[in-house]
Symmetry: C2
């Protein structure tokens, strides 16, 4: 395998809340996605992309409790339907990327990975290496996946970000979110909340102590941040930028100064 | 792996010329595909499906000579674009299948297979077993794939049919074509051409002697038939039916008598 491991790759996560309207079933934000594609097209390194499932996955998956695994046979048609929906979003993302000259090719999570009890049990980087060697940009995504113990489970886009980081040691990992980064307190409740320019384990602990309810408000925010801390150990730089503000992703991939939270390894 | 190997599966190929208009770029025959989905939904065994790329693949692949592998960097955006197009067709096929209650899930060829010089060098049946074990129906397709020697090459739907047959020993393999089966002479040139109810190696040899030009007229018809002969060794029954005639696929999957050419092992 010809892929050189070591700080050659830029790995970008397009958050499901950025490229879809998460509250309305299967609503793609085409213009946002095309702008982010254009911004990414300035990357001068190998580019790999992960996108969330947004409203193409979460709404129906929650309705039919797909995150809990197999309970009854009637779920299986919904498993197929949600996988189809997520591929519809993936196709739209591919289209946006290709329209901006990015040679994007799709790799579903189950093509590289196996799962048990909702955890990834194996990851085969060669599936990605083969397309990276061709100077193509692999695009993977959050999906419903076969699970050895639960029948099926959910593989998040963030989990794919972690596996790709561990295997490819990117120079830069960028999470495009719908916020400027991580704040010292909940910005929805406190006007004086301020953006943390850096986040490490100790500031995460402090945040968790002062804002214990943040986990309830925004779902699995601490789990996501823990995963980012793990990712930051496997790249030169890991950061969260606001994908809704034009120009931030472009500055990030160009290595320019940008409003963001940089996640530091412990 | 819980999958029982041995005559449990029905494996169906939806020919690219049946589910698309092969002469016009990206034209999906939705009503035909939905009818075939409904006919297949009567299968009482495990169902696996392969579809051709039709006008979503062949036209642009030929235009940019993708079947010859890597020649110049400018091809690579076309590789990405054709892969995207083929996934658009795959999404439409999934939609048609799911609408008829088939729990169809997509598995791209490169998720299970590696290629070198246009030949498959490895095939990982577990990727398919995992979804079959969940009583889902895997759907794979003809595609542009990474190739260890040529950069990229074309994996035909028929090649996937052969690999799936070798691994899963289906009870029935059905090729849905746009003709009734194999004729003793070219039916486009000879009015008295008659359908062969059975085809084996000796009748294929006889056909090749009497109709040597058939290869030029219809592309790789002999190559396709050679592959079907190989497949027939790995299943109980292998047949070609006309997918354009309503009811033929349904009769085939129900095990009823139907106008077809049955391909017999040598």
């Amino acid at each position: 395998m010809a892929t050189v491991i070591g700080f050659r790759m830029i790995l970008v996560k397009l958050g499901g809340s950025v490229i879809t309207d998460k509250s309305r079933l299967r609503t793609f934000k085409r213009s946002t996605c095309e702008r982010l594609a254009r911004e990414m097209s300035h990357a001068r390194k190998e580019l790999a992309i992960v996108h969330g499932a947004g409203s193409y996955g979460h709404i129906e998956a929650k309705k039919h409790e797909l995150h809990k695994g197999f309970k009854k046979d009637s779920q299986m048609l919904h498993v197929a339907a949600v996988q189809r929906d997520v591929r519809e979003l993936n196709l739209k993302v591919l289209e946006a990327l290709i329209s901006k000259g990015i040679r994007a090719v799709s790799i579903p999570p189950a093509a590289s990975s196996t799962f048990k009890n909702g955890k990834m049990t194996s990851f085969e980087p060669d599936v990605f290496s083969r397309v990276l060697d061709l100077q193509l940009s692999p695009v993977t995504f959050g999906d419903v996946v076969p699970d050895e113990a639960m029948g099926f489970s959910i593989c998040s886009g963030d989990l794919m970000m972690q596996s790709l980081s561990e295997s490819f040691k990117p120079s830069l990992v960028v999470f495009c979110a719908d916020v400027d980064g991580v704040f010292d307190k909940d910005p929805k409740r406190y006007k004086n909340a301020s953006l943390l320019s850096e986040l490490d384990r100790s500031s995460l602990h402090a945040l968790r102590r002062s804002e214990p309810k943040l986990a309830d408000v925004t779902g699995s925010i601490y789990g996501k941040l823990e995963r980012m801390l793990a990712i930051s150990k496997n790249c030169e730089k890991c950061m969260i930028v606001n994908g809704n503000v034009p120009g931030r992703l472009e500055k990030a991939v160009r290595g320019e100064k940008v409003l963001a939270t940089v996640v530091l390894p412990e």
